[in-house]
Symmetry: none
Subunit: 410 residues, 2 copies
Amino acid sequence: MRAEIISIGTELLLGHITNTDAAFVGRSLAAIGAECYHQTTVGDNPGRIAEAVTHALGRSDAVITIGGLGPTIDDVTIATLARLAGRRLIEHKGVLKDLHAYFRFRRVKTPTETLRQALVPEGALIIRNRVGTAPAIIMEYRDKPIICLPGPPRELEPMFENDIIPYLKKTFNLSGVIKSRTVKTTGLAESLINGKVKDLLAIKPPITVGIYAKLGEVDLKIMAKADDEKAADRNIRKIEAIIRKRLKGYIFGCDDETLEGAVGKLLIKNKKTLAVAESCTGGLISSRITDSPGSSKYFIDGVVSYSNESKENLLGVKRATLKRYGAVSKGVALEMAMGVRHYSCVDIGLAVTGITGPIGATRSKPIGLVHIALVSGKRRISKEFRFRGTRWEIKFQASQAALNLLRKNL
Amino acid sequence: MRAEIISIGTELLLGHITNTDAAFVGRSLAAIGAECYHQTTVGDNPGRIAEAVTHALGRSDAVITIGGLGPTIDDVTIATLARLAGRRLIEHKGVLKDLHAYFRFRRVKTPTETLRQALVPEGALIIRNRVGTAPAIIMEYRDKPIICLPGPPRELEPMFENDIIPYLKKTFNLSGVIKSRTVKTTGLAESLINGKVKDLLAIKPPITVGIYAKLGEVDLKIMAKADDEKAADRNIRKIEAIIRKRLKGYIFGCDDETLEGAVGKLLIKNKKTLAVAESCTGGLISSRITDSPGSSKYFIDGVVSYSNESKENLLGVKRATLKRYGAVSKGVALEMAMGVRHYSCVDIGLAVTGITGPIGATRSKPIGLVHIALVSGKRRISKEFRFRGTRWEIKFQASQAALNLLRKNL
């Protein structure tokens, strides 16, 4: 079964936005064993949309269009394809109801323009959008499905996973599976990870291993193609076991797991509570921790003390320590961690102080210098780091290192 | 002049990487007034590469291929296009020299595979790669240039800016400039913004206005093509003035400005200091504010009080208020803002409390309900919001609304 992706949007051609949808859909198609040999992008232009879809239908079994379903006059995908397939546009009662419900929830009168989104080609299959306003539409033309999806990723992704994949599997009787597993690490540079798994990266299909470096994280992605899920899982587990052995201590999770999520699980498991005092990370650690549902069970307080005064007043850092060692020092990090722990009556206090730039550096304390401290029971741990990058990159790497220090001590 | 982009790489089709190159090249082409109506992605497959390039040459004046110039046997772009154009591959002395120099600098013996990268189509124009190993190649076919660029962005981008743009300008005699300006708004839904500027969105080139909705933000992008920068700027200013008049109060900045940056500027201008108390946003507001360099001038403290106890202890919220109205209420938001303001001795206290889900909702307090309060001088402002989306989306939208409330009160 061969599918083809057509992204629609002048903003894509102009490079105002990057086409992450095509990557997502490409990945999802590969995962169910559907082939995808072409991706095309055209603007919001009826002639070129019709031409691209016609061309694609000539060589593929299904066409997936992305974008151009919005409420504005620029959005011409549905009208164009209805005309191409010779179908009338009719008002869909269910979509209309959803539209009104969407705006009622927001306490806003349904805008007139939006009503266009309830016009769908006669006989088309409608897939409800539970996040935004434009439904996905599947219409047949020349005995092949044209699947029209809205562009915003947070609308497209759940619809594709919950509705389009089951539809494609059933319609094209797709068997055989490709499964993947991503093993996520932090704390070791890409080149060093690479050196430890070089032989695995050279493995040939049906099993492959890829390495992907992100800010403060290196992922290894294992992919296995097999007749059934069991066989694919078996092959993945074999490789995963080798990776786990070699990268012990650096792996924090798999697939959708995040470092903050992994830390949260460990806190729940060990029945520990946490409070965080942040200076240079400015609330990012607290924000990441509270990204996890249920974090109120273990996360009690966060304090962002950006000034020396607030380090003294809120956290009880000693003026002498600040004076003697400076705000970015091991001593201050430790006192911040002790202060927030004491204050919030929690098991673990975590603290970060550092210099993210562009100002604030001195000869002995460069931009990127970060001190992280953890206080738990009788343990007093502090670590010094030096990160490189922009202000935000240093901030993120510091939050990553702090969360990882916490993980390793749970 | 019309150019077309063909991205080559199976990893793009499989969605292992996102196609940022196409966006960059699209943006760069628009900036010199070259039209680009099609972007295509194909795998590292000679047949499909040749077909895509032939198809593109039939409707465009120049074809730009990206990727497939690496040293491995997967990389077939150059060999395929040389065959298509009936050219021999010859070893290029200059490229060979660069290759050896590249590896000598790294103190590594030049790998044998890499020598393939010195094979170029006879008569082609070579553009040196000063970052990586693959040169860019321009070859003529059917009197039109095919421009082949390497895929890694840090190699492609400088080559495109320094060599390809001057080449295109000269070859196609491109004069004139295209300038753009993005006016950013928050606080009004896309459909409502759309209704207010419908006529502007319909303007035809050389001036165009586009609308782009993001989470908690709607942008209007004005583009103007003109003979020189001055004329383009003048046209942009005219449209911008109309937009500013119609969307007064919702505009927080332009181009690279962020909402947190705009708030920071206003705080500095008005010589005000700020402290933030967050519940459901979990530190995100503090983190966003401290993303701006120099934020220590106005941002004094942040408190993330996730539990009722910490709302009482750290912020002095009254137990009676918590009991009577619940943690997610107007009263608690106001007491949080007053508490953090008093505690940190600042001018403005900002507070947020809400329900981000997936748990915590009740019949009268659904997921997405957020109360935001601002206390400054004698002002006591509180607002209720209802957001939709995932936990993170609600969190972000709440941070956006809080920053916007602050902006409007500065």
